[in-house]
């Protein structure tokens, strides 16, 4: 599952609240907890929380603004959203100087180049891991195994987001081996792959035309939580890219059809090939097999699609996918032409519709 900032904010405070409840009085605890939801929504400041919790709340609000509102806002509103996001992140860091989510997100706006952001993330990785592990070890044992496991898990998430961002940045920089190194390190640390870093890895293996490693990655889907087959759009695009690169055009066409069948009704996304800004908190949380997921995967696969010396400017693979999809599904072409204006200029029509939940 992708990271949902609002949900995580809620989980943090719920855990803190549960720990503050009197032990050994289940009735009182249940009653108090009934109260929690209301207070979280309306009276948040009355809930027990650490500076780190407060900082994370600001991160969650900033993530909402930058990742889910900004891409769909008018130009007039954009500046305001950007400065609001920046202020929230600054405040988060002043509350919790080790708020690595905020530090990472702020850097992504300040770094002058992809390379600078890549270097920043790479150099910070060990320190982030140490901080997160210390936070994990500091989670109190209140006798509730499930709660403790969640607390420990939450403590490690900033590290996972950091590494996932590092892998993504490396891919964008054309540093595919570094991408694989970071992604594999994260996958080893978290085989359940909360960060969905395997999606980024699939693209990197395709970039290096490493079929064996891509196949090996598919076998590791068994450990994914919640379970998911290796038929997501990232894997699908990586496989068909490899077939195209091997000049096995029949197979490439078959794999494209399979991808379209996995995301029925959304083939126009393969023609439009919209490029979205990457989520600065994490990859946007979208439902599996949704149109939004396909749009996201196509956008991240830009590094594969737009490569090569093609006169259309779309890249060799990108133009082949668009052409072949249009031939297979003429209705998708019509749809893509209707929406040929960029998504952010269309009233309200866009991935997520600005809603993160």
């Amino acid at each position: 599952m992708a990271f949902d900032p609002r949900r995580e904010d809620y989980q943090r405070l719920a855990l803190r609240y549960a720990q503050s409840l009197p032990k050994g009085d289940p009735v009182a605890a249940a009653k108090a907890f009934a109260d929690f939801g209301r207070r979280f929504a309306r009276d948040r400041d009355t809930l027990p929380q650490s500076d780190a919790d407060r900082a994370f709340h600001l991160v969650a609000v900033a993530a909402e603004i930058i990742d889910y509102q900004l891409p769909f806002s008018s130009e007039a509103r954009a500046d305001k959203l950007i400065s609001r996001g920046r202020d929230l992140l600054d405040e988060a860091i002043s509350l919790d100087p080790k708020c690595h989510d905020a530090i990472r997100m702020r850097a992504s706006r300040l770094s002058p180049s992809f390379d600078a952001q890549f270097t920043f993330l790479q150099e910070g990785a060990d320190e982030v891991l140490a901080t997160c592990q210390a936070a994990r070890d500091a989670v109190p044992d209140d006798g509730d195994d499930e709660r403790m496991a969640l607390g420990r898990d939450i403590a490690l998430r900033p590290y996972r987001r950091w590494m996932a961002a590092l892998a993504e940045e490396a891919l964008i920089c054309g540093r595919n081996r570094s991408c694989i190194e970071a992604g594999e390190r994260l996958l080893e640390h978290d085989p359940s792959d909360q960060a969905d870093v395997r999606f980024t890895l699939a693209l990197a293996y395709a970039k290096l035309e490493d079929q064996a490693s891509l196949d090996a990655l598919a076998t590791r889907y068994g450990a994914i939580v919640p379970p998911r087959a290796a038929d997501d759009a990232w894997m699908g695009i990586a496989r068909l890219a490899l077939a195209h690169k091997n000049h096995d055009m029949g197979l490439a066409r078959q794999l494209l059809e399979r991808l379209i069948d996995t995301y029925p009704g959304y083939a126009s996304a393969l023609i439009t090939q919209t490029e979205l800004p990457d989520g600065v908190f994490a990859r946007l949380a979208v439902p599996p097999y949704s149109e939004d997921e396909l749009i996201l995967a196509v956008s991240e696969a830009t590094v594969l699609l737009q490569e090569g010396d093609d006169k259309s400017g779309r890249g060799v693979l990108g133009s082949w996918i668009a052409r072949t999809t249009a031939k297979l599904h003429p209705e998708a072409l019509t749809e893509a032409q209707e929406y040929s204006t960029p998504y952010y200029q269309q009233g309200g029509k866009g991935p997520q519709g600005g809603d993160a939940s």
């Binding site: 180049s113 920089c173 054309g174 540093r175 000049h247």
Partner: protein, 323 residues
């Protein structure tokens, strides 16, 4: 391709086959005679076809001599016209001998297709050629020594470069390696395409192997490839040293990287240029363009070194180029 010279060798070779036994000295004399007047020795559809192509390629180059004086639109339409003329000449050559591989190759290249379509067309030519005759190493262990095998090597080279332009890097590498195996002398430059493909695939081991095979014979492709490879692998100090090596090998190399210019399609193969000159760097950068575009901050990184920037600037000033 040195068309004139190849026409001479072809005519002499065919004449030798007719005469029968001929000593090496006798062959050398025959070559001199052909060089004096090649037309007199063009006595078969095969040779006539090749002669037509050679004439057309010369005419294409001559017609483009004044391109520098044209503005962008004029240049575009003049170039299109020239390519059409060349294509028509290829058709004429093929009407004389439909088996003229170089004419088939040039005709496809002159169509200026996108990499996918170009690759299909080239592979079709290769499949037919392969059915007619398998490429072998010949008596000397190098296919290049057989004048009639050279078109196949040029075809493979075009396939390898088309793979590179179409982001098929492993295939580009495989074809280049096949090329080097068929012709260890590697006159057509399979190693150059291989170096760029290995850099893009971040295959350091493969790159070092190639480097060792070339035994220190540096060139712009290798040096630029090494720079990109080390940069991609994040070995920035070594990458900086490699950039210096690239910059110092060829005149104007820094300018070639920072201010890439239009390079005409290779018709049919990479033009021969003096080693260490500006054109060498220009061709290397041109061929590496798809790979450079894939490392978005690479050029800015190179430009960030004052010595590299200054070298480019100085070259531009010295030659009155735009900066």
């Amino acid at each position: 391709m040195n068309g004139r010279e190849e026409l001479v060798l072809r005519c002499a070779q065919r004449r030798r086959e007719k005469i029968g036994a001929l000593s090496d000295e006798g062959f050398a004399e025959l070559c001199l005679a052909v060089r004096e007047n090649p037309t007199a020795f063009v006595d078969s559809p095969e040779l006539a076809s090749f002669a037509t192509l050679v004439g057309a390629l010369d005419a294409f180059a001559r017609a483009g001599a004044d391109d520098d004086l044209l503005d962008d639109d004029e240049f575009r339409s003049a170039r299109e016209h020239r390519l059409q003329t060349l294509s028509a000449a290829c058709a004429q050559a093929l009407s004389q001998d439909s088996g003229c591989l170089d004419a088939q190759l040039v005709q496809v290249l002159a169509a200026d297709l996108d990499p996918d379509d170009r690759l299909d067309a080239l592979l079709e030519i290769e499949a037919k050629a392969d059915k007619a005759a398998e490429l072998n190493l010949g008596a000397t262990g190098d296919a290049w020594d057989d004048i009639f095998a050279r078109p196949r090597l040029r075809l493979w080279d075009a396939i390898a470069r088309t793979c590179l332009a179409g982001s098929r890097f492993r295939m580009a590498l495989d074809v280049s390696r096949g090329l080097m195996a068929a012709s260890p002398k590697d006159q057509v430059g399979g190693r150059l395409t291989a170096a760029l493909a290995l850099a893009r695939l971040e295959d350091e081991e493969g790159f070092n192997e190639l480097d060792a095979r070339l035994a220190g014979r540096e060139n712009s492709w290798l040096n630029l490839g090494r720079t990109i490879l080390l940069y991609k692998l994040g070995r920035m100090t070594a990458a900086r040293r490699a950039l210096r090596g690239y910059g110092e090998l060829c005149e104007g190399a820094a300018y070639a990287l920072l201010r890439p210019t239009f390079v005409e399609i290779y018709l049919p193969d990479r033009p021969e240029v003096p080693a260490g000159g500006f054109e060498e760097a220009t061709f290397a950068v041109h061929e590496a363009e798809p790979i450079i575009a894939d490392v978005p901050d690479f050029v800015a990184w190179a430009d960030g070194f004052p010595w590299f920037h200054a070298a480019a600037n100085a070259y531009a000033e010295e030659h009155g180029y735009d900066w």
